[in-house]
Amino acid sequence: MMREPTRLAVLGSGHVGPVIARLAVKAGYPVAIATSGDPEDIALITELVIPGAQPRWASDAVADADIVVLAIPLHRFVDIDPAPLDGKLVIDAMNYWPASDGILEPFEDGGSSEIVAQRLAGSTVVKALNHIGYHELEDRARPTGAADRQAAGVAGDDARSVAVIAELVDQLGYDPVTLAGLRAGRVLEPGGPVFGVVLERAEFEQAINARSLL
């Protein structure tokens, strides 16, 4: 019997959301994309920029999803209702980026995904797809086994969920490097050794290990 396909809901239709959604459509996942508003508002964007994805109301997209990708600005995240995400596996692809968020006091001390996980107490949060620039994420994706395949970090407190997201990241075109704990995932944040650079696994591991020795 065939396994039910893993369904994705991508929340956010700005710089990052459409890029992740395109990769997921290409990898064969059913993908819904949603913003805070009417799906009609992003129908044209979806048709032309993310062909194959379904624009939906966020509540419907989340209800039907196995994995929810948060790709909204962090300063908008603090306004969303956590309840619909209860029981969901959530990818935090967001970053604390004062250059566009302004100063958000709770996030000033680092560990943005840990704060996201506290707010989404009923969800399982995995940090991934946050550290490769949206302008490169699609261009650098390669299938399993490609010689120039690049690494991508996957960090979370729940090992099974990290494995599920690692499988997704692998399907999207990156060699997953798993990190045990959202705390350990701080190396993937802005200011960290792999943020904004695209590295192969050996270089990636070397960069994050060098940092954790400090």
Binding site: H15, V49, A99, G102, L104, G133, H135, G191, V197
Partner: protein, 347 residues
């Protein structure tokens, strides 16, 4: 198809031949010389981007454009970009409408944010309000451009009631664009408000912006507007040979990206990433006239664009190197792109 070609600068602070930084004042005077020379070299447009930093000391682009206007007769002059979110749309309209008067109808504006965020704390705005600020102010600017008395109300500025805003233009609205850096919702906004679309492509493969151009034209149809032009703005540098252009550009690009990386938290560029960006599928137009022309000619049709603006210079370049760049861009790159695209020799 008619194509137009521009040069944009951020007032990148010049260096001398020994690598020592020139003063802000000398850099600004050099930018004015470069604008005048751009006309002589046959460039169609000269743009100055608003910035507020030590290495881009260019907060009052319109003043410099006015100086260039007084010494030129043909070249179009505009902002690239005006950071509208932290400015007053009425003042922006007045300044560029004044430039339009002085220059005999040669003014343009590109509205956006660029990568400039320094104006927000400087003028007391919160970056978290960026979307609302830009959306409201761009909406008001579109009203101001129409010419007649304006009635407008919002949260970010005092309301206007049947307000006549001067100086009036002589022949309708001047060209106005919205600069977009990769957010499809910004493309929709430009179409909704009736601005032309400027695609700022500063990293990664340009072709990824191709759907944005179609999105723009389809959104214009949806809002019942006629087709509007799309332009591409990308950084680069032209010198006699590929080797010379890269050798001149790399250290300045590396240095400025390193500064910005530290401010924004991303890792520093490597020579490998530079090679990718200067290669055929990268965003940087660095090389000989033939290399740069070939790359522009390859990308414009893919992107559905009829204008290309080369953002020339980087902090640390000498004025002489920039003048050579302008000379080669105007006399060799532009004619060669037109030739490659089968376009008329000049406008």
């Amino acid at each position: 198809m008619t194509y137009t070609f521009g040069l944009d600068t951020f007032g990148d602070r010049n260096g001398d031949a020994a690598g020592k930084a020139l003063s802000h004042a000398q850099t600004i005077r050099n930018v004015a010389e470069e604008g005048v020379f751009a006309e002589q070299a046959g460039v169609d447009f000269f743009g100055i981007g608003e910035h507020h930093t030590e290495y881009f000391p260019m907060p009052a682009a319109d003043v410099v454009l006015a100086a260039i206007a007084a010494r030129t007769s043909r070249i179009r002059l505009g902002s690239a970009v005006t950071v509208l979110g932290s400015d007053d749309p009425v003042r922006v309209f007045q300044r560029y409408s004044t430039l339009n008067a002085l220059s005999g109808g040669r003014a343009e504006v590109i509205l956006g944010r660029g990568s400039s965020i320094d104006s927000f704390p400087l003028f007391g705005y919160d970056l978290a309000d960026y979307e609302e600020l830009f959306d409201e102010k761009a909406t008001l600017f579109a009203e101001l451009l129409k010419g007649g008395p304006v009635t407008w109300e919002g949260k970010t500025r005092a309301a206007l009631v049947n307000q006549d805003v001067v100086p009036h233009t002589e022949s309708g609205p001047f060209p106005a664009w919205i600069g977009v850096g990769g957010n499809p919702q910004s493309v929709i906004r430009a179409a909704r408000l009736g601005f032309s679309l400027a695609l700022a492509i500063i990293g990664g493969p340009p072709a990824r912006f191709a759907p944005f151009s179609e999105l723009f034209q389809r959104a214009l149809e949806k809002y019942g507007r006629p087709p509007l032009p799309v332009m591409v703005h990308s950084p680069g540098h032209v010198a006699a040979t590929d080797e010379q252009a890269k050798a001149e550009f790399w250290p300045h690009w590396r240095d400025i990206i390193t500064v910005m990386a530290a401010e924004r938290g991303f890792a520093v560029p490597t020579e490998a990433s530079f090679e990718r960006e200067t290669g055929p599928s990268g965003a940087l137009y660095v090389g000989s006239p033939e290399t740069v022309a070939t790359k522009i000619a390859a990308n414009l049709p893919v992107l559905g664009a009829t204008r290309f603006d080369l953002k020339y210079g980087m902090p640390g370049f000498t004025h002489d190197q920039l003048m050579t760049n302008i000379d080669l861009y105007g006399h060799q790159v532009i004619p060669r792109v037109r030739e490659l695209l089968g376009a008329p020799a000049s406008n």
